[in-house]
């Protein structure tokens, strides 16, 4: 058995023990999510329109993360709407910023990787960079939306007659926790992903000025910030959507 397969088996067993049925669902959510990402790569390599793929796969990936990962229907629905609105907003930001950053493709550092590979693949790498940035930030946005919705709904369940204003106020407090949670995950995830690149910069004596203008560094730093912006936008939006939703259902019930 290869190491990767063995580790996946260990993960599946652990998730079943710790998470029970919810754990099994989470395992499949992660698995499907990964397969979807590989499918995107395959479809792009076939030359299918990248913009179209982005439009299809953003909602599809949010559905797998949110609906498979949580078992409360209301949490899922509210999180999905909030996450989708934020993803679209962040996507617009990504399109604009990537246009000016011109940080697509592989840097001169990748020379060794490229041996024997085509340097003229006939695909738009600027658009691929946009897609990569969008998909990288999706996970953080979805996580924040689910954490906010479930936190607020748990509060509402514990105190059924809490006022909308009080709920919004608690939203601020929960929001800070959610942001704190996302922050280190995103940052260290990126550090862990690009340690070798940073070591490369040091070993080859890049100056700080060079690093700050270097394609790959700029791209990575931007992806960290897109994800953070996504999380920061998700927190107030989820609160507003949820509080409005709750008030509306109450009015309906009174009639």
């Amino acid at each position: 058995m290869s190491t990767l397969t063995a580790l996946i088996v260990v993960l599946a067993i652990l998730m079943t023990i710790v998470g029970g049925e919810a754990g099994i669902r989470s395992f499949f959510s992660v698995l499907i999510n990964t397969l979807l990402l590989i499918l995107v790569a395959l479809l792009i390599s076939w030359g299918i329109n990248i913009e179209l793929l982005i439009l299809i796969f953003i909602p599809l990936k949010l559905v797998t993360i949110i609906f498979l990962g949580t078992h409360n229907g209301r949490v899922a629905k509210n999180s999905f709407v909030a996450a989708l609105i934020v993803s679209v907003t962040v996507s617009v930001l990504i399109l604009v910023v990537q246009y000016f950053a011109q940080a697509a493709g592989l840097g001169p550092e990748a020379g060794e990787v490229l041996v024997g590979l085509s340097q003229m693949p006939g695909l738009s790498y600027p658009m691929i960079a946009v897609a990569v940035a969008m998909f990288s930030s999706l996970g953080a946005i979805a996580e924040a939306a689910v954490a906010m919705s479930s936190g607020l709904l748990a509060l509402k369940r514990a105190q059924p007659d809490i006022s909308a204003a009080a709920l919004k106020h608690s939203g601020n407090r929960i929001g800070t926790d959610v942001i704190g949670t996302a922050l280190n995950t995103i940052l260290f995830g990126m550090f862990g992903s690009f340690l070798s690149l940073f070591l490369w910069y040091f070993r080859l004596n890049y100056s700080i000025g060079q690093v700050l203008n270097e394609k790959l560094f700029v791209n990575e730093a931007l992806i960290i910030m897109y994800s953070l912006i996504g999380v920061l936008l998700t927190v107030p939006l989820t609160t507003v959507l949820l509080v409005e939703g709750i008030t509306k259902t109450e009015v309906k019930n009174e009639k």
């Binding site: 990964t34 704190g180 070591l199 994800s227």
Partner: protein, 366 residues
Amino acid sequence: MKKKYLIAIIILLIGSGLTLATYFATHIYQRDSVALITDYQIKDTFVQRDKDVYGNIDQTRRQTLHLTILSGPQRGKKYVTSNVYYPSQLVSQKYRPRQRIFVDIKKNQPAIVNPKRDWVLVVVLTLTLALMVAVTGKKAIPLICSLILSWVIFYGVILADVKLNGTSMFLLFASANIIFSFVSLAIVQGVNQKMLVTWVATLLGVFISFGICYAVMKLTGETEMRYETGDYATQDPRGIFMAQALLGILGAVMDEATDIVSSLHELVKTTPDITPLTLMKSGRAMGQEIMGPLINVLVLIFISGALPETILYLRDNNTLAAAFGFTLSLGATQSVIAAIGIVLTVIFATGCSLWFLRVRKQGDLV
């Protein structure tokens, strides 16, 4: 208007100023000269249509650029140069009118190095900080401090690694994890019982899960672990992989432990008659909610980063299995290791929180 929005607007204003300053800054750069492309419309000529051995069709195009040098010894001089690019822009770059770029002038011939991208980072950083203040208010201060600190420690660890020349990498990154988690938790929560419990849970989560994964890797003989496919390797690629796995796990585990321990601490404080069993059940319920989305965050980060290369491999008629082996297998392994850490942390965070019950019995719960 609330104070936090006012501060956010002030940050935006200062940030815009800094953006302009960075955009026009030319003298802070010593190594290469900054140049301005003076054309309002760049002459862009078609050179040839290319078809490579894989059947990919692309073009070769040439831009004629008029440059005015803005910094360095050649300041004020004008040059005409050309830039060859392929529209897919995988390794080549298409330049835009009136753009500022870096050039390396040798023997009176300018070679284009890079577009000037620094100001874009300043814009997006400004936006992030302003949003952070607008959303979290005063709490933004510890968050921003912890962000800065992470970068500082990361920088320090890299310096140390370069100094040690890549030896004892595991030891270095393990100690970095211990120090970093302590300092970061102390900044956000202050040093107290809750923080110490979170710290212990984090360390158990990181090291025990890493130990289990290492044992699995050894038992399976590290089959199909293609360390040599790691990018930009300047030292032992296996060491780099281990260090990356340790680092990638830490943030998620620390955040998750904070979440679970804080909630259980709150629970112990507010529910006087809580039993160890109910506490464990609550911890498990929280873990079930949290682990799926958290694992997805890391998977998306680890795998998305490798997509540009994966697409290239697939485009060049490699099979899916070959492309996966070359570009994704290390990232996927790293994701699974992180996922195992996230799942086990549910157990450790809940277990460590049981300590609150004992402290409460002695009347020392803070």
